[in-house]
């Protein structure tokens, strides 16, 4: 029965990884940016909620109302300035710039918030769960996050395929020059894509802060998990990312069931195995290599 529980927990945490990863996927798919500061942005979101929600007398559960629009705006501005400037150089430069940002963000967080662990206090909600049997426990928070992940991925899919802006973003991603000739303002569209990506990473960061204790350097591990979810699922497939997240989550939970020290290691090994056996991922549309 503990294995069934591990499976269920894996699926739940997989939803969280997918939520984390979809911003990473979007930035790469549209602009070709691998945002190495992605995990750290989520941690910023958690710290912003920690500071802002009490000040604004907003219950922590509703902090996303404040943080998500703020992050969307921040994403747009960062894309139009720093990220666009580095994109104009080369993809190589964006990689170095986002890595630099990641290190700077972590150390600024360390200086401002110290190395103490923090958590977003949502009261008794954290403990509430649905218990079909004595060994299986489904926390409502995890369930909500999984549902949010599915809704976010679904809306993103609909947005990109059905709306005018979404189609223009895809056009710019496919062939920037042709899209520009047809009147698309690619810098503005990149900004919108970044705003959406930042909004999703803010959601992920808040979920993370509600789940567990976080500190300044939590971004790194989350970046790796998000990235593993993307690659396992297949680069370029949004629903693949969800499956990748779930596969990673299950691997970690099963590994952790064998020995708590093997939790993260098991995830890494599954990721490396996928790279060896099926480099384009489970649902990849094209080879990654």
């Amino acid at each position: 029965m503990v294995w069934v529980n591990a499976l269920i927990q894996g699926i739940l945490v997989g939803g969280f990884y997918a939520l984390f990863a979809c911003g990473l996927s979007l930035l790469f798919g549209v602009m070709g940016i691998i945002n190495l500061a992605h995990g750290d942005l989520a941690v910023i979101a958690a710290f912003v909620a920690l500071t802002l929600a009490p000040a604004a007398h907003v219950p922590m559960v509703w902090s996303f109302v404040l943080v998500v629009p703020l992050f969307a705006l921040g994403g747009y501005v960062l894309q139009r300035t720093l990220l666009q400037a580095s994109l104009n150089r080369s993809p190589f430069t964006t990689l170095l710039v986002t890595f630099g940002l990641s290190v700077v963000i972590e150390n600024v967080l360390l200086e401002v918030f110290t190395s103490n662990g923090q958590s977003l206090n949502i009261g008794t909600l954290i403990a509430d769960s649905f218990n079909p049997t004595t060994t299986i426990s489904v926390p409502y928070l995890s369930l909500v996050v999984l549902v949010v992940a599915v809704v976010v991925l679904g809306s993103l899919q609909l947005f990109l395929s059905r709306t005018r802006t979404g189609r223009m973003i895809r056009a710019v991603a496919d062939d920037r020059e042709a899209a520009q000739l047809s009147g698309a303002n690619y810098q503005h569209l990149f900004g919108i894509a970044a705003a959406i990506a930042f909004a999703t990473v803010a959601l992920a960061g808040l979920a993370y802060g509600m789940y567990t204790e976080f500190s300044f350097d939590a971004g790194t591990a989350n970046l790796l998990f998000a990235f593993e979810a993307v690659v396992i699922g297949g680069i370029g497939s949004l629903w693949g990312t969800l499956v990748g997240g779930i596969v990673l989550g299950i691997a970690q939970q099963v590994g952790g069931q064998i020995n708590p020290a093997y939790q993260i290691l098991a995830g890494h090994l599954v990721f490396l195995a996928v790279l060896v056996v099926r480099p384009r991922g489970l649902f990849g549309v094209r080879a990654a290599a």
Binding site: F28, I33, I34, L36, L82, A85, S86, R89, S90, P91, F92, T93, T94, L95, L96, V97, F99, G100, L101, V103, V104, N107, V108, L110, E111, T220, L223, L224, F227, E228, V231, I235, A261, Y262, I264, L265, H268, L269, F271, L272, L275, V276, P279, A288, A289
Partner: protein, 375 residues
């Protein structure tokens, strides 16, 4: 170099006469002056332990360690277009290599080259996996590999598990003798790393890398074995980082997994290279000097040195992608480690239309801008 790396072009080190023009590798500075400068630097560095304090000797060892790492990262990213954020995997393997060898009675100094070799050998199967991804995905994959290596090593309790283990062997030396031993070990590794990187870049393989950097498709169609060239660089970089990690273990007499496998090593080597000048031999040297000056001045300010240094690196990557040395080099036309080819008149033929004193266009382009990343 084994034959067959590049299809047609003649070896460039021999001056090739092309109808009154001479294409020659070199700096505007005469070769004898560069040789004197190099020997002078080596002599000063060799004499330093006798001149400076024990604390400064330790500082110089750390300086050498970071310099070796930066030279290796520069080879990877600046010349082979591969942004690795997982070089700490090989630093950690080198450090643990020294620990395991020392625990088994191998003399500590002898264990440094062996540990570096272990890191290089392990990098070969690693390259088979991570080379399946390109660009940023390659970068994060190397990071996953280093995290995996850390987790595996932390779970082995015989070598200290997560808490680390002291390196036996050198602890019995007097502080002064210990300082000297570690200094000269680090000195030898630095000379080999810088000299080896320079020799590698002047070899046929260096030509392949330059060709790939300028035009990958063109280089491939001319028969350049791109993947193999990148694999060689990856293994060499692992060897160098393994040696750097081995030096860390020897000089600190203590190995701890989260410290030696820390991504901060990658951050430092990347920032140093970017600031000094990526894709130049001089860049990592200059960058390491800048880094240590800054770190010493901000020693009491916690993490601020990394914040300032990181911000500087980001700004340089965007607005001055050739770094400090690259910018200087373009202005002055100087090069201390001549890699580029220069065009000049052949002695005895008619004077070419261009004045020989004027800075001539470099045949090789700088990396970074336009360079493709990933294998």
């Amino acid at each position: 170099m084994p034959a067959g790396t590049l299809a047609a072009p003649p070896a460039p080190t021999a001056p090739a006469a092309t109808g009154g023009w001479l294409v020659r590798r070199g700096s505007r500075l005469p070769a004898w002056l560069l040789a004197v400068l190099a020997l002078g630097c080596l002599a000063v560095l060799a004499a330093l332990p006798a001149l400076v304090s024990q604390a400064d000797t330790q500082l110089l060892v750390n300086f050498f360690v970071l310099l070796v790492m930066s030279v290796m990262w520069n080879l990877l990213a600046g010349y082979a277009g591969m942004v690795s954020i997982g070089q700490q995997a090989f630093i950690g393997l080198g450090a643990y290599g020294v620990l395991v060898l020392a625990m088994n009675g191998v003399p500590t100094i002898a264990s440094i080259p062996l540990a570096a070799l272990v890191a290089a050998v392990i990098s070969l199967p690693v390259s088979l996996v991570v080379f399946r991804l390109r660009g940023g995905y390659f970068a994060i994959a190397t990071w996953v590999v280093s995290d995996t290596a850390m987790l595996v090593i932390s779970s082995v309790s015989a070598i200290g598990g997560g808490t680390g283990h002291a390196v036996p062997g050198l602890a019995s030396l007097s502080p002064r003798a210990f300082g000297r031993v570690t200094y000269y070990a680090a000195f030898v590794v630095v000379v080999l790393a810088v000299g080896g990187a320079y020799a590698l870049l002047r070899s046929r393989l260096g030509l392949v890398l330059a060709a790939v950097r300028d035009d990958e498709i063109g280089a491939r169609s001319a028969g350049a074995r791109v993947l193999r060239a990148r694999r060689v660089v990856f293994v060499v970089a692992a060897l160098g980082c393994g040696a750097a990690g081995a030096l860390l273990a020897v000089s600190q007499l203590q190995v701890q997994a989260t410290a030696v496998f820390s991504v901060q090593w990658s951050a430092e080597m990347i920032f140093v290279t970017l600031i000094g000048g990526i894709g130049t031999m001089e860049g990592p040297i200059l960058g390491t000097i800048v880094f240590y000056l800054l770190q010493q001045n901000l020693a009491n300010e916690g993490a601020w040195y990394l914040i300032i240094f990181g911000t500087l690196a980001v700004a340089i990557a965007i607005w001055a992608p050739k770094g400090i040395w690259g910018t200087l080099e373009r202005r002055l036309g100087l090069s201390l480690f001549p890699l580029t080819h220069r065009v000049g008149p052949v002695a005895g033929t008619s004077r070419p239309p261009r004045s020989p004193g004027r800075p001539t266009p470099h045949v090789e382009r700088g990396p970074g801008a336009g360079a493709r990343s990933g294998p």
